[in-house]
């Protein structure tokens, strides 16, 4: 087999070499540990024993798992379809807000003012609950909203963007503008979503006290299941003919278009699916961290999610998970140990990954193996021209192609 270059390593990743059955076993084992073992140790191992997993840890891991789901949704767009969206956190937040609204209403009269209205509405003098809040008394309505609201936003925005063939960096810039506009909107107090303070001080979720360790454990298990489900769904998506087409669009959109596929529809489909995945992650994130506010949807947050994917390894499904957990664990540690240097660490990590390790963490074993097998063959010092620069004649400007 001929040499693999870096881009090929990116595309294949670690798992490209691992037999499907082995991968399946690995995933099941990891899922068991995350979804069954850890919560059991939290619930049953006595406090103080070496096996006890604290409520804090469960809660923290729950957060990381939400980030992992978000990272997969970024990767589905970026790694597989070549669409670098800087707006994934918008969908994440919309999902969070949708469930947050339900949680807000479930506080009932337990708030500061013992009113049926959320506190911030009481003191700002809202006479009654705004109409668009009313249906969120129902959990199922909220749960549905977690899916259809971000889905609809993604559908509309995606339709507009893909219809006019906005791609590459323009797509990134536009999604950034969308996110920015939305965050400005949500920051407004008048927008009836609590402005900068957002939604917080939740008490109950479907009848359970959201602050109880048992509830948190339940939410953690749900997140684990969501991650597993997302993984399975994306595995299926990316391995079907659809997935092949996704990568085809990434590598040579014109060829796909001139093969009779309406690429815009494919991109739109991925965009909507990934928005919904992100929103589900957001919906589970909110009851676990206890707050949702507009700073979650700023462009910077979306870029941070892209960092996770890049660090973990894009174009793979396991990479984003590893990246999200690794970077966030690092963040939890570094903001405590070296608060002044955290941004430098994050920024430098990003530069290094982009320049020297385009395949991310998951490509490391492969690179090491490649070196070990052919020591005389040096690794390419710098990545070769990658994905979006692939020779695509129809991308050249008409002026120069009018030959």
């Amino acid at each position: 087999m001929p040499n693999l270059n870096d881009t090929q390593i990116i595309r294949r990743g670690l798992l490209g070499r691992i037999p499907a059955r082995l991968e399946l076993i690995g995933v099941i084992a990891a899922a068991l540990v995350v979804i069954v073992v850890l919560p059991s140790l939290n619930a049953f191992a006595p406090e103080g024993s070496a096996f006890h997993v604290s409520d804090f840890t469960i809660n923290l891991y729950g957060k990381y798992l939400c980030y992992a789901v978000l990272a997969i949704s970024v990767d589905l767009l970026w790694g597989y379809t070549g669409l670098l969206s800087l707006g994934q956190c918008l969908f994440f937040s919309i999902g969070g807000y949708a469930l947050g609204m339900y949680l807000m209403l479930m506080i009932g009269k337990l708030g500061q003012y013992h009113s049926d209205l959320p506190d911030f509405m009481v003191f700002l003098g809202y006479p009654k609950l705004p109409a668009h809040w009313v249906p969120f008394h129902s959990f199922w309505f909220a749960a549905a909203a977690v899916i259809w609201v971000p889905g609809a936003v993604a559908l509309i925005f995606g339709y507009l963007a893909f219809r006019s063939r906005i791609r590459g960096v323009y797509f990134s810039i536009l999604t950034q503008a969308l996110t920015y506009a939305a965050s400005l909107m949500f920051f407004r107090n008048d927008f009836t979503f609590g402005g900068n303070n957002g939604l917080t001080d939740f008490k109950f979720i479907v009848g359970h006290d959201v602050r109880q360790p048992a509830t948190q454990r339940g939410l953690y298990i749900c997140t684990g299941l969501l991650l597993l489900g997302t993984y399975a769904l994306c595995k299926w998506l990316t391995q079907s003919k659809f997935g092949k087409l996704q990568r085809a669009v990434r590598d040579s959109e014109n060829r796909v278009l001139f093969s009779g596929y309406a690429t815009a529809n494919f991109k739109l489909f991925v965009f909507v699916v990934s928005a919904i995945i992100a929103a589900l992650a957001g919906a589970l994130y909110v009851p676990q961290v206890g707050i949702i506010n507009p700073s979650e949807m700023t462009p910077d947050k979306s870029l941070e999610a892209v960092v996770w994917v890049a660090v973990g390894g894009r174009g793979t499904l396991i990479g984003p998970i590893i990246g999200a957990v690794f970077v966030n664990a690092l963040k939890s540690w570094a903001t405590r140990a070296y608060p002044d240097l955290w941004l430098i660490i994050l920024g430098a990590m990003f530069i290094v990954v982009v320049l020297f390790l385009p395949g991310g963490i998951v490509s490391i074993p492969r690179r090491v193996m490649a070196r070990w097998r052919r020591p005389e063959q040096p690794l390419p010092p710098l990545p070769t021209p990658p994905v979006e620069a692939s020779a695509d004649p129809a991308k050249t400007s008409p002026a120069s192609s009018a030959s």
């Binding site: 003191f123 006479p127 917080t200 206890g290 506010n293 700073s295 002044d340």
Partner: protein, 428 residues
């Protein structure tokens, strides 16, 4: 060639690793852990790092005098990184892992809102030192901060006394300015100021005013339009501006005010978010004569303040905490209220004879007091603090010249409802 490059990389990595491995040891036997929960990175680091510094100073001061009931204070510093969910996570960490006796922290309302459920669930104790909108009372939080009636309404009283008749309300669009301006709107009506003399605009919902004043987004930079509006508003004289703009945006706002030729003599601006620490980064010569209102000013001439400032300066000269800036430091109200909070807590612990949260809370609610740099502060049963309010005007050196004092103002977090009732009684 390649090898030497790798060698370089490897040795660099080793060096970095060895740096990280270095640690600072604490060898106290009887210690009590206290949490410091502020943003040391991100956008809010600008304001919050100073609070960490003054807390460390207070701890050192107390430790030097024998600690709290013989226990030395061990600070546990965590960084909220201007990220609100992270604040909640860090609060959990402090309470559940480090098991701190008390936490001093938060600046923004949203950070407080985000940690509030955590403190309630784990029955922790949080001291909150920064002026805020009120409308909140948690059994686990003590607000040494200025409530609206300890800052905004006294300022308005002062301006009314000075013969001002027109009030322009402007702020950043978030809960503190919105609530404060809504309170002020009602307060002004109550004081007989006609609606048309309250500038900035009103927003109604269901026949009730739900928002008063002009609002800009965070980090807004273009104030041309608004200042032109203010200028027209102030053209008829006797006008003033109530400014609740937050942070960065103040610089372009005041530069525009100066450029438009609005002088404090014509139309003073009273700001609630600009204290000495913020003024250090403002072009103060353009702000001379503009007003501020806080419960502490660095220029207070009491012996307590003089001693505090001198000792703070000494401490800055000798401390060795990483990240503490030593030069050109100012002290302001949030810092002093943090400092006061530490001593109020200490007094309560000593009174209760225990670090137990419930006992300390009971002692605090029963009322402890401390005479700090800003004068005497007394904890009230409603978790707020009675203290002296000062009106000052900015000087070119970034200090305030004190114009008026309102001694012993009782902190009242729930203003809106009370005002509504009073207005209703007057039939307005």
């Amino acid at each position: 060639m390649r090898t030497s490059y790798r060698l370089l990389l490897a040795s660099g990595a080793l060096a970095v690793a060895s740096l990280f491995a270095a640690n600072r040891a604490h060898a106290e036997d009887k210690v009590v852990k206290i949490g410091i929960l502020h943003s040391l990175s991100g956008t809010m680091a600008i304001s919050e790092t100073s609070l960490r510094d003054v807390l460390l100073y207070a701890f050192d001061e107390i430790n030097a005098k024998g600690g709290v009931m013989g226990y030395k204070i061990e600070p546990v510093i965590v960084d909220g990184a201007s990220n609100w969910p992270l604040f909640a996570e860090k609060a959990k960490q402090l309470l559940e892992q480090d098991k701190v006796a008390v936490t001093f922290g938060c600046w923004t309302s949203v950070s407080r809102k985000s940690v509030l459920p955590v403190f309630e669930k784990d029955n922790g104790l949080l001291f909150y030192p920064v002026q805020y909108e009120g409308e909140e009372l948690s059994k686990n939080i003590f607000y040494t901060a200025e409530a609206v009636n300890q800052q905004a309404t006294p300022a308005v009283d002062y301006l009314l006394q000075q013969g001002k008749k027109k009030f322009y309300l402007i702020g950043t669009d978030y809960v503190y300015p919105q609530t404060t301006n809504l309170i002020l709107y009602k307060y002004l009506l109550l004081k007989g100021v006609p609606v048309e003399n309250i500038g900035g605009g009103l927003r109604m919902d269901g026949g009730k005013v739900v928002s008063a004043g002009k609002y800009v987004p965070f980090s807004h930079t273009d104030f041309q339009q608004i200042v032109a509006d203010i200028k027209q508003f102030a053209a008829s004289g006797d006008a003033c501006v109530i400014n609740t703009i937050n942070g960065d945006s103040n610089v372009p706002f005041f530069k525009e005010i100066v450029a438009a030729g609005l002088t404090p003599a014509d139309c003073p601006v009273v700001s609630f978010s600009l204290a000495e620490d913020e003024l250090r980064s403002m072009p103060t010569k353009d702000l001379v004569g503009e007003l501020g209102c806080w419960t502490y000013f660095m220029s207070i001439k009491s012996p307590e303040n003089k001693a505090f400032l001198a000792s703070w300066k000494d401490w800055l000269g000798t401390e060795s905490y990483p990240g503490v800036v030593k030069e050109k430091r100012a002290v302001d109200s949030p810092m002093v209220l943090s400092y006061d909070g530490v001593y109020l807590w200490k007094a309560a612990v000593e009174k209760a004879g225990s670090f137990d949260v419930d006992k300390v809370r009971a002692a605090l609610e029963a009322g402890v007091d401390f005479t700090g740099p800003g004068g005497k502060v007394t904890m009230q049963p409603n978790h707020h603090v009675t203290k002296t309010v000062y009106i000052g005007e900015t000087r070119a050196n970034g200090q305030f010249k004190i114009l008026k004092e309102f001694p012993d103002v009782y902190g009242e977090p729930f203003q809106l409802k009370a005002l509504d009732e009073k207005l209703a009684a007057l039939g307005k």
